[in-house]
Symmetry: C2
Subunit: 230 residues, 2 copies
DNA sequence: CGGTTGGTTGACAGCTGTCAAGTCCTGTGG
DNA sequence: CCACAGGACTTGACAGCTGTCAACCAACCG
């Protein structure tokens, strides 16, 4: 976990997904004031520990993260995954503590955004306030639209589709991507076991729907997944 | 769906849960400017239709609501329930349309809060902005902490506990309440079938954990539910 | 080379969904 | 007040999906 000082919002490839959307040039430039620091993390390194004081939001500049809590009996419960251009940490506002831990899934860089400064700036720039709320509500929809309902197959299909559209947004391929999650992490998030996950991926693979080679996924039949996910 | 003009935030029993928290007297008084109108609805009456333009948040003054979408094959998918003192509609900010429909579960009154006016006022009153974000993130946690994971029994236990603490917040009993949901709605929200729901409630009942008489619930053994929910 | 971790596959039990029947509750109309 | 219809809810039987347990394979690393 080390600081990376020289990056600017202006040069960020994810700017079109992040807070700058809808800002004019002057407003855009003022954004870098918000950034406390840019932080580089290795795979598995923690950015946030559950219960830590909430002072910042975070935006993923490179890499990927997961948020999770650990229940009393020691089981991990994953809340969400965050990829390039996505933000997290909103939920800290509730109790001024982060309700979950967050760690990097691969070598990553995040921008740490001062909550208090963001509040000051949103009060001055309506477009920034609107964009912040858009990001929050978008996140809400992303996390909640993963169906609690339905069979394991439908959940997995739905998850793959969600990933597909998120990767597309960030400029990557929507049908050919590397997913930096273990089967355990996918399964945990979906509320199924790794065995079921593995079996389903094998089935999708043998049906020609999705080509799976380790963490590399190639979706051959988006339609079919959509029909499954309904 | 009819207007109810004479209610004021000052006289609202749910004020301690809603936007006024943290405001001084003058700020508190200014809140009523935000309220476009108070709306009275009958059971089953719709407040929001999916796709409708987003201009407002809503706060439940009396009664209860559910939000839901309808999938292509005609199935209802419930997103959340909203009780006295809880707000909804945040997610409309994402695309300027509401992504779900909302209807009353019993005779209810909501306050319709102008989004644009709220934005203006939060820019002037930092405490209001903070409280708005607190409410949003609290809602986030409420909806996401319902475990996707785990068995039907754990989900139901967890749901009952969540309801218990929400009712307690709004000044009602945390162990003796009327739940204005059909089994179908509970089951749908939890991602299980009505039969399983019914069976589990019967089991809880015969174990003496929860006394169930129709929509009337009396929780006799909170500890046990907590142990189940983990 | 052996240990560790992640992933796949098989066997099997049990939970949950499906289908079906029956009961309870409520509102309506006589 | 009663009879009735319709919906909500409960219960049973059973199949099948999913979790559990276990074995095995592959990749990685010291």
């Amino acid at each position: 976990m080390s600081a990376v000082p020289k990056l600017l919002c202006e040069n960020c490839q994810a700017a079109s997904l992040c807070l700058p959307v809808g800002l004019d040039q002057a407003e855009f430039s003022s954004l870098d004031q918000l950034i406390k620091r840019r932080i580089q993390l290795e795979r598995g390194e923690h950015l946030i520990q559950q219960g830590q004081a909430f002072n910042s939001y975070y935006a993923v500049r490179e890499g990927a993260f997961k948020s999770y809590t650990v229940s009393r009996d020691g089981r991990e419960q994953i809340w969400g995954f965050y990829f390039v251009g996505e933000m997290f940490g909103f939920v800290g506002a509730d109790t001024d503590q982060f309700p979950y831990s967050v760690c990097a899934l691969e070598p990553s860089i995040v921008c740490e955004i001062s909550f208090s400064k963001l509040m000051q700036l949103t009060a001055k720039i309506p477009a920034l306030q609107k964009q912040m709320l858009k990001l929050i509500s978008h996140r809400f929809i992303t996390d909640l639209s993963t169906p609690r309902n339905h069979s394991a197959e439908k959940r997995l299909a739905s998850f793959l589709l969600s990933l597909s559209s998120r990767f597309k947004k960030s400029g990557q391929s929507s049908v050919d991507f590397r997913l930096p999650l273990t089967r355990q992490e996918m399964a945990n998030y979906l509320g199924i076991t790794i065995e079921t996950t593995s079996r389903l991926l094998t089935r999708f693979s043998s049906q020609g729907v999705v080509e799976v080679r380790g963490k590399h996924f190639i979706i051959h039949d988006l339609r079919y997944l959509q029909k499954l996910a309904c």
